[in-house]
Every structure is written in C-alpha cells, then in structure tokens.
C-alpha cells in the first residue's frame, strides 16, 4: 500500500513536470529545424540543425535592439524604484507619526495596474513623454513602488536603531548613515523587491504597447508580439525568436533561482 501511494505520487509529479517542460522542448527543437521538418517530424530532434534561424531572426526582427531597450528600461526603473522606495520606507519605518502615509502608499498594492492605463496615456501625451523610454520607466516605477515600500518597510523595521545612533555619535550625517549603514543591511530586502520588479518590467507588454509606438524604442515583448504577424508562416523563425526572448530568463533563473523564487512569491503573497 505504502509503495502504491509513493509510486502514484511520483507519477503525478513526473507527469506534471513533463507537461511543464514539453512545450519548451518543442519550441527549442523546432527552432533548429526548417519549415518542412517541423511539419514532417514535429516532435523529434532535428535531422539537420539549422542554426541559421537564429542569425536570421536576430537580424531581421531587430531583436537585438529591443533586447537592449528592455534591459535599459528595466534596469533604470528598478534602480530608481529601489532608491526612492528605500528612502521613503526608511522614513516610514523610523518616524512614528507616519502611519497614514504608510497606508497611503500600500493602497497602491490593491489597485490593479490597468486602472491607470488610459490616464497614463493621456498624462504622458500631455507631458510629451509618449514614445520615450523615460515615460515608460516612470510608469514601471509607480506600478512596482507600493510593493517595494511595503516590503522594505517591513525589512527596515527589523534593523535595530542602535546602529544608526552609534553612527550619529561617530559624527555621521543622516544621509551618510542611510547610504553606508542602512542600505547595506537592507540588501536582502532590496534584492527581493529588485528581482521581482525587474521581472515585472522585463515581461510587461500592455503599457509598452500603449505608450511606445515608435519602432526604434520598442521593447522585447513588443518584438515577440511582432513575430506573430511577420513570420506567421515560418514556425522555425518564430520559435527561434521565442527562444531568444526566453533564453536570458532561463540563464538568470539558473543563476539566481532562490532569489527569483523568493522575490516572486513575496510579491504574490504580499500583493
């Protein structure tokens, strides 16, 4: 009986793992075939390996440009979000009478980000920030800021004040204390929200689509979306494009798995 339950448990887990991996396997092998092979031999390994698909898609679909745009936008948004978020969270954690301000910030966690889609378009148009990376960065900052303040506030509350008092006695100013004592201690919290924020920005599509229309400024998710129209008949190229867009995430995931899992689940549970 024990063995049967253990066996069926193993079976369920393995089947689910297989169903998770299979779609990626298919995209990966298809990206190395040609059109004909995808049709004739949909599930096997490629008979002849067409590495050229990658060169083609990287060049013609402008994926390299989109890739750098996404990297720039996500990195800037996360850096600014962490800085102003940590500054605000620090004040909220240290000043007793700021409960209402804390409530004001965490209100944003409850707001579905779609609620600001239409106004953000109008607002950025008025500010002449449509089609600019800066405009999108601003929106990405605010859409992750509430969670950032919430998590960092909890984290900074746990850091004892004595360290800062000692720093003050040593003649450190408040800003210097913040930069050289508080921030380094908050690193784990910063890493958690930073990872989550980065993935959110990197994978975001709707706001990028609405706010950025000019070809050279588009993000990687927009580039992926464009694959459907441009190469809808050539599956091999679409699959190569998909792999290019997923590969960085797989690599980052392999390197920072614990961090990413922690960040995403913290985001989910606290959101």
């Amino acid at each position: 009986m024990q063995r049967v339950t253990r066996l069926s448990r193993g079976l369920v887990l393995a089947v689910f793992a297989l169903s998770t991996l299979f779609p990626f396997y298919w995209v990966l092998v298809s990206s190395l075939k040609d059109k004909h092979q995808i049709y004739a031999n949909p599930f096997g390994f490629p008979v002849k390996w067409h590495w050229g698909n990658y060169a083609d898609i990287w060049q013609t679909a402008h994926l390299s440009r989109y890739f750098w745009n996404s990297l720039f936008i996500s990195a800037c948004a996360v850096a600014i979000m962490l800085l102003i978020g940590a500054m605000a969270a620090y004040v909220l954690a240290r000043r007793e009478k700021s409960g209402w301000l804390y409530a004001y910030f965490t209100l944003g966690i409850m707001i579905p980000v779609h609620a600001i889609l239409i106004p953000s378009f109008v607002l950025l148009k008025q500010l002449h920030l449509l089609n600019s990376h800066f405009g999108l960065i601003l929106i990405y900052i605010v859409s992750n800021l509430s969670l950032c303040v919430f998590v960092l506030h909890g984290f900074l509350k746990g850091i004892p004040r004595e360290l800062e008092e000692a720093a003050a006695i040593d003649g450190y100013g408040r800003v210097r204390t913040f930069v050289s004592i508080v921030l380094p201690l908050a690193k784990p919290g910063l890493a958690t929200v930073g990872t989550l924020g980065f993935l959110n920005c990197w994978n975001e599509y709707l706001f990028a689509y609405v706010l950025i229309g000019s070809e050279p400024s588009k993000t990687l998710t927009q580039g992926v979306m464009a694959l459907t129209g441009q190469y809808s008949t050539d599956y091999a190229l679409v699959c190569a494009g998909l792999v290019v867009s997923m590969l960085p995430l797989w690599l980052v995931y392999m390197l920072f798995q614990e961090q990413i899992v922690k960040g995403m689940t913290a985001g989910a549970v606290k959101g």
Binding site: T5, V12, L13, F16, A17, T20, L21, P23, F24, W26, V27, Y39, F43, I84, G85, M87, A88, V91, R94, R95, L101, F105, G108, M110, I111, P112, V113, H114, A115, I116, L117, I118, P119, F121, V122, L123, I141, S143, L145, S146, V149, F178, L199, N203, Y205, L206, T221, V224, M225, T228, V238, C239, L242, S245, L249, V252, Y253, V261, M264, A268
Partner: protein, 290 residues
C-alpha cells in the same frame, strides 16, 4: 535644532516617492473615475455624461459576455491553479529525492513573459501545422482534432489554458513554503491517531495554511481580472468577443474604438470588482474562522 533638521531630512527623503506615486498612480485613478463620467474620443472636447456610460454598460451585451468569460477564467483558475497547485504542493512536500528538481521545473514558466507563452501556445493550436493536432493524430485520437482558435466552443478554453498552465508553479511554490511551516509534531500526532493523508490534509494542514490559501484565492481572482496578454496574442479576443476578457475589452474600447470615457467606465468596474471581492471574501473568511 536637531528636531527641525530631522523634519527636513524626513521630508526630503519621502518626497520623491510621494510625488511620483501621487502624480502617476493616485491621480490617474482619479482621472479614470473622472473620464468615466464623460464621453470623449481623446481628441475633441469631453462632454459630461453623468452616469450615462454606466447605464450603457448595464445594457451592453458584449460587456456582459466578457464579464462571463472572465468569470469562467476565475473559476478555472481557482480549480486548476489554487486547487491543483495546492494538491501538487502537498504531494511534493513529502518527496525527499527530486524535491529541488521538481520545484525548479514547475517554476520555469512563471518567469517567462505572458506574451511569449501566448505566442508559443498559438503555434501549438494551429489546426494544420500545429503540434497539438499532430499529437492527437499520433495518439489515435484524430476525432478530437479541432480548429482550436476559430471554433467558438473551444476558443475560450484554448485561450485560458496557457495562462492557467503558466502560473500553476507559482501557487505550488507558495503553498509549498506554507506547508513546510506546518509543525512536524502536528503531522506526527495525526499519524499516531491513524489519520490518512486526506484527513491529515483537511484537519491538520489546511487550518495551518489558511491565511496563505486566502491570499492565493485573492491572487487568482484579481489576476484573472487583469488578464490581457495571452488572449491578445492568441486571438485578440476573437472570433467576436468569444475569447475576450474585461481588461482586453477595456483596452479595445479605449484605444481601438477611441471611446476613452466608455473604456474608463470599464476600468472602474474592474477596480470595483477587485475591491468588492477582496473585502467580501476577507469578511466571509473572518466569519468562517471565528
């Protein structure tokens, strides 16, 4: 002197976040509410309509169709993300060998962009060249083959499948962390009392992870209310509105039909559904618990 200095420091530190947040988050929500009371194409002058847009919504068959679709998405998410995620987490928690492997595999789709996942599935569904129909052929199930994305009976499920599939791993990992916090003594004493895995689950594990379970339910519901990317990539909501959801309809209304006011009214309903559900659900749970 010191106090005054402190006030300046605190103000200067909190101000950047307050300004950005107020200007680009809170103010826009208020703008949405304002727009929802007007008729506006985004170019010419707005005309004030009062609650006209909301009255129109109530009579709008398309709107209720996408609300029903979203309702279905919520139901399937609760069963196949929260339910299945919890079951898998419970099974996985007892595994020693391969634990880390399974956990990392299940989480892989979670980190990929929804647009890429949607595109991937739209390839699978292609009725001539897609692997799904191929797979059915090779399993001898040719009669199950469909034109997945043009058949109104299958298209909604076809669009829901990838978004549900993609995030099961997130729920597995969240539940797994919660289940691992359940004190070993409780499980041990349940075993001593001769409780089977099902009784142990409902009487011992479930009460311990109740908070996390609630959070996951709210997450699944609010996540479904925001659903956009997968449907947009795979079908753009079509044919007709057969595979559209509220957020997608809101986008189309505002940015394709240029009805900013009407689209904003839809936005406000999304906000209202999310808030209403969260408040009611928390209330009900609090009552259940006491």
């Amino acid at each position: 002197m010191r106090r005054k200095h402190d006030a300046v420091f605190y103000g200067a530190f909190v101000l950047p976040a307050v300004i950005v947040y107020t200007l680009f988050m809170i103010y826009p929500v208020a703008m949405s509410a304002g727009y929802s009371l007007t008729e506006w194409n985004g170019v010419t002058a707005k005309t004030f309509e009062g609650l006209g847009n909301y009255q129109e919504l109530i009579a709008d068959g398309d709107y209720w169709q996408v609300v029903r679709n979203t309702g279905q998405l919520i139901a399937y998410s609760l069963v196949f993300q929260v339910g299945a995620g919890l079951a898998i987490a419970y099974l996985l928690a007892k595994v020693v060998r391969g634990f880390r492997f399974y956990r990392s595999v299940y989480f892989i789709p979670v980190i990929i962009s929804p647009v890429a996942i949607g595109l991937m599935f739209s390839l699978f569904y292609n009725s001539d060249t897609g692997p799904l129909n191929h797979l059915l052929d090779s399993l001898g199930l040719s009669s199950w083959k469909r034109q997945w994305l043009s058949d109104p009976h299958t298209v909604l499920k076809a669009v829901m499948a990838p978004q549900i599939w993609q995030y099961i791993g997130l729920y597995v990992v969240i539940f797994l962390a919660a289940i691992q916090q359940v004190p070993e003594e409780l499980l041990e004493s349940a075993r001593m009392d001769g409780a089977g895995p099902f009784r142990t689950f409902f009487n011992v594990v479930m009460p311990q992870i109740w908070d996390v379970f609630q959070v996951c339910v709210i997450l699944a519901v609010t996540g479904s209310l925001k659903s956009f990317d997968h449907a947009w990539v795979i079908t753009s909501g079509g044919p007709g509105n057969a595979s559209s959801f509220i957020a997608l309809q809101m986008f189309k209304t505002a940015f394709i039909s240029n009805q900013i006011g009407y689209g904003s009214a839809m936005t406000i309903t999304i906000l209202a559904y999310a808030a209403l559900f969260t408040v009611l659900f928390k209330r009900i749970c609090a009552r259940l618990y006491n």
